[in-house]
């Protein structure tokens, strides 16, 4: 079963094409991350899938419906975590969560949602007094209060401190374990690696690589860099497979106290992919 199906998606603003033929498939229950630099078309693509923007061309099915024409029943099944919101500044966090919860047929209890995003201490504060990170957590609360089958997260952890980010990752894993399909866009590679089952890299409106965090962009086949010290001299070797080299070093009784074997990080792969498409 697919949650999201996209074929040949295109979108231009005033003649400038920002999405140039995207194909995408996200299965039910999958956590899918969309990576890419600013201006790559991540937000435009996400907004088309959310039903916030019209597309110029291509076929799009989200939970079996066309988001361009789908109605309230379809919206009851999706959850959207927006970027850069400033709405409802004079309501309290609890009031706003309760208000939005009222639009869904099977919403989560308000107190539970406030707890899930860690806003208990601020639940009765006016939204305008929340910090940037707290405001984002409220956005997440509003996105999940309707128990969505499919959750859109557009750069959800911007402005989070490291502890809040870990807490948020746990929340996403909980939602995923409950079977929620999640489409995530992020700038943080370690976030994609920690959360995503699969990911795709967007550059200049096209998907330039797709895979799992372990295999993206040939990461599984990429070689390793081995470094160690021999008689006080730093040695470095780049090899496809470190096994024979390590055997040789062990056999030669080399001092391996400073040995490192480094495989490319997701960030290395990502920067390579982006660099090649500039």
């Amino acid at each position: 079963m697919t949650a999201i199906e996209v074929r040949g998606l295109r979108k231009a603003y005033r003649g400038h094409e920002v999405v140039r033929g995207i194909d995408l498939e996200v299965g039910r229950g999958e956590v899918f991350a969309l990576l890419g630099p600013n201006g790559a078309g991540k937000t435009t693509t996400t907004e088309i899938l959310e039903g916030h923007r019209r597309r110029d061309a291509g076929e799009v099915r989200v939970l079996g419906a066309d988001p361009g024409t789908a109605g309230p029943d379809w919206r009851a099944r999706i959850g959207i975590v927006l970027q850069n919101t400033e709405d409802a500044a004079d309501l309290t966090a609890t009031e706003m969560v309760r208000h939005i919860a009222g639009f869904y047929p099977d919403s989560r209890p308000v107190a539970e949602v406030i707890g899930l995003v860690g806003l208990e201490e601020k639940k009765n504060s006016r939204i305008r007094t929340l910090s940037g990170g707290q405001r984002r957590r409220l956005d997440v609360a509003l996105g999940i209060v309707g128990r969505p089958e499919l959750l859109f997260l557009d750069e959800p952890t911007t402005g989070f401190d490291p502890e809040a980010r870990r807490h948020f990752w746990d929340l996403i894993r909980t939602l995923a374990a409950e079977g929620t399909t999640i489409l995530l866009t992020t700038h943080y590679l370690e976030e994609a690696e920690a959360l995503a089952d699969r990911l795709a890299v967007l550059a200049a409106g096209q998907i330039v690589a797709e895979g799992t965090p372990a295999t993206l962009g040939g990461r599984a086949q990429a070689g390793a860099r081995v470094t160690w010290h021999e008689n006080g001299v730093a040695r470095t070797e780049q090899v496809d497979d470190p096994t024979p080299l390590l055997r040789k070093l062990v056999a030669a009784d080399t001092d391996l106290r400073t040995l490192t074997v480094t495989r490319p990080t997701l960030e290395d792969i990502y920067l390579n992919l982006i660099g090649a498409h500039r």
């Binding site: 603003y13 005033r14 959310e50 039903g51 916030h52 923007r53 309230p72 029943d73 919206r75 009851a76 999706i78 959850g79 959207i80 927006l82 850069n84 919101t85 400033e86 709405d87 409802a88 500044a89 004079d90 309501l91 009031e95 706003m96 208000h99 939005i100 009222g102 639009f103 869904y104 047929p105 006016r126 509003l142 309707g146």
Partner: protein, 263 residues
């Protein structure tokens, strides 16, 4: 019926937010009342009618002004702000319909317009000794008030599409509001002092008719000689305000957008 209950829920949070924004509240309510106190004190024209002062005329006419600031400006600026701060985008991602959203705004406007009318009538009656009308005039008040609020709200919604930023909304929306006050017999009365072509222009817009209607409600019948036609023209008031309701609705249906156009 979820359209109705979602609309009431919207109306509740709209009102909550308005009441918590002290600045907006004070200016919306205090400004027309202050103008009425000033005008009623400064101008002391007398008419051929015993017991009618300029302050009574202003008290009645300025209900039309109060409706413009509460309905037209609240709608126009409110929609522009909701588009800007993400309120509309947020709601569009939930199962709520545009009808419920607009219903919520109309509930807010209805509350504000009624409160504003009460303040103006209270100032007129308590400060300037204006006498309150009988039941049949109150009945006319109800339909004139409803048609005025609905047409103003719908036109405010329609004009919000040309307001690009919330912070310029007040400036843009006040241009028609102030201009129409001057030519519609609210600030300048009797309206026959104006050049006839200006009266003709004013007659195309709803403000003249709504101000005339409120003067019918609160002034003695003999005051009709000061109107442009020398008559209260109740039928024409209903016709023109009704027509603006229809025009406003059509414009809203044609122009309403959940989000700002593509950047």
């Amino acid at each position: 019926m979820s359209t109705l209950s979602f609309g009431v829920s919207r109306g509740h949070v709209e009102l909550l937010q308005f009441l918590r924004d002290r600045t907006a509240m004070i200016f919306t309510f205090a400004f027309p009342a202050m103008l009425l106190l000033l005008f009623g004190t400064i101008f002391s024209d007398s008419y051929d009618q015993p017991g009618v002062s300029a302050a009574h005329v202003f008290s009645a006419s300025m209900i039309a002004y109060g409706i413009l600031t509460t309905a037209f400006v609240t709608m126009g600026a409110g929609l522009a702000l909701d588009r800007e701060d993400g309120t509309l985008k947020r709601l569009h991602g939930t199962p709520i319909t545009a009808t419920s959203y607009v219903l919520g705004k109309l509930l807010l406007v209805a509350f504000l317009a009624v409160a504003e009318a009460i303040i103006l009538v209270a100032v007129g009656a308590l400060v300037f000794g204006m006498s309150l009308p009988d039941a049949s005039h109150w009945l006319a008040f109800v339909w004139i008030f409803l048609l005025s609020v609905i047409s103003s709200s719908l036109l405010g919604m329609a004009i919000s599409v040309i307001v690009k930023h919330g912070r310029t909304a007040g400036a843009i929306l006040n241009v028609p509001v102030v201009a129409l006050q001057f030519i519609s017999g609210v600030f300048i009365y009797p309206v026959i002092q104006l050049p006839s072509w200006l009266i003709t222009i004013a007659s195309f817009f709803p403000v003249k008719w709504s101000a005339q209607g409120f003067r019918y409600v609160f002034l003695p019948d003999g005051m009709r000689v000061n109107e442009a036609a020398g008559q209260w023209e109740l039928g024409r008031i209903a016709l023109i305000l009704g027509a603006w309701c229809v025009i406003g609705l059509v414009l809203c249906l044609m122009t309403f957008r959940w989000t700002r156009p593509d950047q």
